[in-house]
């Protein structure tokens, strides 16, 4: 089945710099100038110390799977045709956790603790959605998931 267009997330004021960077497939994280800690999801103040001076730094794009669940059915029409697919929480090297999909591997082969690297899926409006693929898998950071990799049957 042809993959439907992804749900295009709304863009908050705090998240706008993140989304802008994704147009160039750059992965950036908000860091607090006052306490020197990153946070996720992007806010317009630091959730650790409430300071408002933040700066965006290039992220490593590397992390580990904290948990993963394979959706046997699509969550919504925008995901129809992709099932089964892996939704994961990934702990980034910088110390923050984000929700994502792990692609480029059969979804039921994604394991907790596995090292992963960011990859991008283009959204209809030119932004990119950060996804992750196994760090040991072939391909470059900019390559999309191999065709069909996310539609392998989940036995």
């Amino acid at each position: 089945m042809k993959e439907a267009t992804r749900f295009e997330p709304p863009e908050s004021v705090a998240g706008a710099p993140f989304w802008a960077a994704t147009r160039d497939r750059r992965f950036v994280l908000p860091w607090c100038v006052a306490c020197g800690r990153p946070h996720w999801f992007p806010r317009d103040l630091c959730p650790h110390c409430l300071a408002t001076e933040l700066e965006w730094r290039e992220a490593s794009g590397r992390g580990r799977v904290y948990s993963v669940s394979v959706m046997a059915k699509a969550a919504n029409p925008a995901m129809a045709g992709r099932e089964p697919y892996a939704v994961a929480l990934v702990d980034l090297a910088e110390g923050v956790r984000m929700m994502t999909n792990v692609v480029g591997i059969a979804p039921d082969e994604v394991t907790v603790g596995a090292p992963v690297t960011v990859t991008w899926e283009r959204l209809g409006d030119g932004r990119h959605l950060p996804l992750f693929r196994p760090s040991t898998a072939p391909g470059t950071m900019d390559s999309p998931a191999p065709p069909g990799a996310s539609s392998r049957s989940n036995a």
Binding site: R6, E11, F41, V68, S69, M71, R82
Partner: protein
């Protein structure tokens, strides 16, 4: 440490709930709310005119307590629209007990009704027209297609399995024992016995959770009436005292939960027990929010009924079922009785009935202390209420 100022100051004096074996209820949400309030007040021997505290979490509009009070034609002097999802009603009991103890109101009502099963058949409820707003969830989670709320609990289950070796077989026993209780509840939606193998053979929905690991979707409604301990003793039914209560919420989105294997029940439960001057071994019957089988395992650990990480082996022993050492979810729970989206009101209603000795075939003999624990959102908002009979006050 919390002091014990609230212990036994307020009592639940009236309860009502509605559910049916076919999963549907007639009437609108508003009518059901009104009917539940009327039944719970009648149970107590009180009337609508006695109600001066209104606690309600959900509404079609922006102000739940304002809108419901207007609909009922009452003017409460104590108002609370706290919305923590399925645990709202346990939070309401905590807040109502405090309000009653402080003299802010004399008679408090918390109420819930939802008709998701009928709404689906009709092609929409009052939530169906809502579009996705520019929320953090929409921006940072929705694009990834996590089925909600199922997928959030699946992530917790997967992490628990990784961390502690918990198995699907162990968790399945929660669903099996729920059916054994439901078999004794004529209003329960699912009364056919099942086996662990049945659960493991049911379709995978979001790994590792399968269909029979998941709660129902039914219509349902309920209400609880509270008043002061002194006034409670003059009413129609034996009072059930609020001995302890506690709340803790740790996140709204599952991606922000600090540790997927530890819930805020560690805090809410410890506070409720400390206030009550009791511990897990004092509890005769528990009503634990069973949105999914994993939820029960997490709550048993976090409330101290078993050590962290041992929820799987603990439930696998069959302790939760009829005749077990920790009778749990004696209606059949959200897995087998009813689950209209927010199950917390039913936990309180059944806990009260057990302490009054009204459990019928499923009565836990000699129950004096009950614990009701709600979980709202996606393991987000935890609220514990410890209840007891006159003998325990």
């Amino acid at each position: 440490m919390p002091d014990r100022t609230l212990r036994g100051q307020a009592a639940i004096v009236g309860v009502a709930d509605a559910a049916s074996a076919d999963g549907t209820l007639a009437g609108t949400v508003r009518r059901l709310q009104g009917q539940m309030i009327a039944e719970a007040l009648d149970d107590a021997g009180l009337a609508l005119g006695d109600v001066d505290g209104l606690f309600v979490n959900d509404s079609p509009g922006w102000a739940p307590s304002l809108e419901l009070a207007e609909y009922l034609g009452i003017a409460p002097r104590c108002t609370d629209s706290t919305q923590t999802g399925g645990s709202s009603f346990e939070v309401h009991v905590e807040h109502a007990a405090a309000a009653i103890a402080a003299g802010l109101c004399d008679v408090a009502v918390t109420v819930y009704a939802a008709t998701p099963r009928s709404d689906r058949a009709r092609g929409g409820g009052y939530r169906s027209g809502q579009t996705v707003g520019a929320t953090a969830t929409a921006e940072w989670e929705l694009p990834y297609g996590l089925r909600m709320p199922l997928g959030a609990y699946a992530l917790a289950a997967a992490r628990h399995m990784h961390a502690f070796g918990t198995t699907s077989e162990q968790l399945a026993r929660v669903a099996v024992d729920a059916r054994r209780w439901a078999a004794m509840n004529p209003r329960a939606r699912l009364r056919e016995p099942i086996t662990v193998d049945d659960v493991l053979a049911s379709p995978l929905q979001a790994s590792p959770l399968r269909t029979l690991d998941c709660c129902l979707v039914t219509d349902g409604a309920g209400a609880v009436v509270l008043t002061s301990a002194d006034r409670a003793r003059d009413l129609r039914r034996p009072p059930v005292f609020v001995l302890g209560a506690g709340t803790c919420h740790t996140h709204a989105m599952i991606s922000q939960m600090p540790d997927l294997t530890v819930t805020g029940a560690t805090v809410s439960g410890a506070q409720a027990f400390a206030m009550a001057g009791l511990g897990p071994t004092d509890v005769d019957v528990v009503q634990l929010y069973d949105s999914f089988t994993i939820t029960v395992a997490l709550l048993l650990e976090d409330l101290g009924f078993c050590p962290k990480g041992e929820g799987g082996p603990f439930v696998a022993e069959g302790v939760l079922g009829p005749g077990g050492s920790l009778p749990a979810n004696t209606t059949g729970g959200g897995l087998a009785y009813t689950h209209p989206g927010q199950f917390g009101i039913f936990l309180l209603v059944e806990a009260v009935r057990q302490l009054r000795g009204e459990g019928g075939d499923r009565q836990v003999e000699g129950a004096e202390v009950a614990l009701a624990h709600g979980s709202g959102g996606v393991l987000s908002a935890m609220a514990t209420v410890v209840l007891g009979t006159e003998a325990t006050r």
